[in-house]
Symmetry: C2
């Protein structure tokens, strides 16, 4: 890290504790004008290493409702036409995918209406693996955010804060979705944590599980508060265990179909 | 531009003319190991301005075969469930989208198999608007590439070279696809140009039209040579008229469904 960067880092650490709590208390879950975000990714420090945070999506990929998220039908045959292509049937909220505000609010922004600036942003990764080993329905709580800030400095405005619960490694097993009794069981965010992140003007949250809310949620409270506030979420992230806690830039390749409530997305990170 | 950058630029300009022709002659259309690309985007000069090169995709978006590329069916109703989502039917090669090698070769890479490093790359834009005004089926020819190199220096390995023909402005009109007689009519690349780009180890080509080949092509020769060589293409780009000839970084949000021959993609550029 260059000398100027070290200085900047020390300054940020000193400021972070007071602005964190002041910001969270003052702003609450007020709607965020994502198009007006001032913070830009720290691309100047880029090493150029690209990590793909997207799972391969196919008929076997686990889904929230348990039905296949994608189906394939041959549309053009290469032996007949010299080229080939599929007619796909896709349920929007399957695979590694985006939740747009419209998913949980009638007048929310569609995935096509998200501000392009919000789709390239700093990535902050909260390590929840230890808590998730003890409790399959563990939640990111305000204490986890405070610990992240103490260790790493303030969370940049417009960032995506992602939970690494270790769940991506279970994606091919029934454990990704259910406990031994067949109940939903996976980690997620608490609303106390997402309210705090909203106060910090965070733009997006991400999870390596099937849902922003933990598996044992009965009210999908994070979906109902975070998305209608104008922010988006990313579900089913891969490879977060390869990411540093901070310093990477996230590229959110959200689909852009009109009236879309979300959809399978290509998520890349640059170190 | 910093002093070191100016020096580098002068050096590159001096080298460009001889390496251009030597490289093109020696390498021909040999397959490219996209995963081993050495050049990385010049993100250090980033201003952070993001330009969305993706059209909004809906039932009216023009397609190659003339049929709607996407259809919507309500899967979950918000009044009944508290949230909403669509079941989508999508033909892979519609909207702003990717052509993966598998589209034109039985054993080519699927869209899920493209190297992640190849999806974040330098963007070079060739202005074909003057030629396209005179001829709706104008092609990017080797002379257009030579002129670009003379003005801008060597094309970086792994870059995406995109044609700005001005066609994106016609997207809502029948002229985007057909001439007055109802024949396909839109600009594209010539194989002489794409063979030259392959020799320069360019990773992708992009067009603001319906096809990599021009509308009056009878053999889709660019598709048949470029894609089976292991490279990809992007069709239906928007907003290339807002881009500089060089210096931007392209983020290719290609979908990642297994066995995919391509598909609607989110394409963003950072200045």
């Amino acid at each position: 890290m260059c000398h100027a960067c070290v200085m900047e880092d020390v300054k940020r650490s000193m400021m972070s504790r007071r602005s964190l709590f002041a910001g969270a208390a003052a702003a609450g879950t007020a709607a965020l004008a994502l198009g007006a975000l001032s913070a830009r990714p720290a691309l100047a420090q880029s090493t150029g290493k690209v990590v793909d945070l997207t799972h391969v999506f196919d008929e076997k990929f686990p889904t929230f409702d348990g039905k296949p998220g994608i189906a394939y039908e041959e549309a053009v045959n290469i032996d007949q036409a010299g080229y080939q292509l599929w007619k796909l049937t896709i349920f929007e909220h399957s695979g590694t995918h985006i939740d747009a505000p419209l998913h949980f609010s009638k007048d929310g922004k569609s995935v096509a209406e998200l501000a392009p600036e919000s789709l390239i942003c700093p990535l902050c990764v909260i390590d929840l693996t230890a808590k998730a080993r003890d409790d399959a329905n563990a939640m990111v709580e305000p204490a986890d955010i405070e610990a992240w800030v103490s260790a790493n400095g303030e969370i940049p405005k417009g960032a995506c804060v992602a939970m690494n619960s270790g769940w991506a490694a279970k994606v091919a097993s029934p454990e990704f979705r259910n406990d031994a009794a067949g109940n939903f069981a996976f980690p997620g965010f608490s609303t106390a944590a997402t309210d705090m992140l909203a106060g910090m003007e965070v733009g997006a949250i991400g999870v390596d599980t099937l849902s922003l809310d933990p598996g044992n949620s009965t009210d999908l409270a994070v979906h109902h508060s975070w998305l209608p506030s104008g922010r988006f979420g990313i579900e089913g992230l891969a490879n977060l265990d390869q990411m540093p806690a901070k310093g990477a830039t996230l590229f959110v390749g959200a689909p852009k179909h009109a009236r879309g409530t979300g959809g399978p997305a290509r998520i890349l990170a640059m170190m």
